[in-house]
């Protein structure tokens, strides 16, 4: 599904209005350890996290992810938002927990990333 479809499914808000939501979400993931995400992140990933600092964008861009999903209403730092807009990385924001987000993605058929 596309990022925009995932946004609707999660009842999430798009924090990066200028960024295209047409990218394909090919797998889903949740983790707050950036080092771990670097080892296991995949291209096209929809990544749910509570981390809100700018390094989240560096990681998601380097891994060529589809979008970052900030859960439980966590707000991105200004630098994070600015970097996301600059790099064209969508940030979705939801009040749901990472657990709920993953449940919804799983149920909708978003793949578990292959190892």
């Amino acid at each position: 599904m596309k990022v925009v479809d995932l946004m609707h499914l999660l009842e999430a808000e798009n924090l990066t209005k200028e960024v295209s939501l047409e990218g394909e979400v090919t797998c889903g993931y949740s983790c707050d350890l950036l080092s771990w995400v670097l080892a296991h992140g995949k291209q096209g990933m929809g990544w749910a996290t509570v981390q809100s600092h700018v390094n989240v964008i560096a990681v998601s861009v380097l891994m060529e992810m589809a979008c970052v999903i900030l859960v439980e209403g966590v707000e991105p730092e200004d630098a994070t938002l600015a970097k996301a807009l600059e790099e064209g990385m969508p940030i979705l924001s939801t009040e749901k927990t990472a657990y709920e987000v993953c449940g919804i993605m799983c149920k909708a058929g978003v793949a578990v990333p292959g190892r």
Binding site: L34, S35, L38, N55, A58, V61, L62, M63
Partner: protein, 142 residues
């Protein structure tokens, strides 16, 4: 004569968390322009970002060097200290000496060096306490 056709150096400063990934992004952009295969490019990007993070978290400052030869990309991470006392321990997954500050940001999972090793076709690390650490990673492109 050197056998590389391109050689770029990117300085990385201690504790520069805000700009972490900038050097790696520049390397990735350049290699993309040069037409490097995207799967190889992603491996290089992860390895260079891990190296960049290590320089930021652990070193007294250093640089990332990217060399391109007709057959390979070589990434070199070079710092001016403090050096690693026990390299075999540092190479173990889960072992980390990262600061509280780094851990708060979600780093310091002890995956850096193993992740570099996993993504590179060749991996070599030398270190001397009080002098510095040099990591050399090779990626075959032809």
């Amino acid at each position: 004569m050197a056998d590389y056709i391109i050689r770029d150096s990117y300085p990385v400063q201690t504790a520069a968390y805000e700009s972490a990934g900038d050097a790696s992004a520049r390397i990735k952009r350049k290699l993309k322009q040069l037409g490097i295969d995207s799967a190889i490019l992603r491996r290089i990007a992860v390895a260079s970002y891990e190296a960049e993070l290590n320089l930021i978290i652990h070193s007294h400052g250093g640089e990332l060097i990217m060399e391109m030869t007709p057959k390979s990309i070589v990434l070199i991470s070079k710092d001016v200290g403090p050096g690693i006392a026990d390299i075999s321990q540092a190479l173990k997954e889960g072992y980390s000496t990262a600061s509280e500050e780094a851990r708060d940001l979600g780093f310091g999972a002890g995956m850096g060096l193993p992740n570099m090793k996993r993504n590179a076709d060749s991996f070599d690390i030398t270190s001397e306490v009080g002098v510095g650490t040099t990591i050399q990673m090779g990626f075959q492109i032809a």
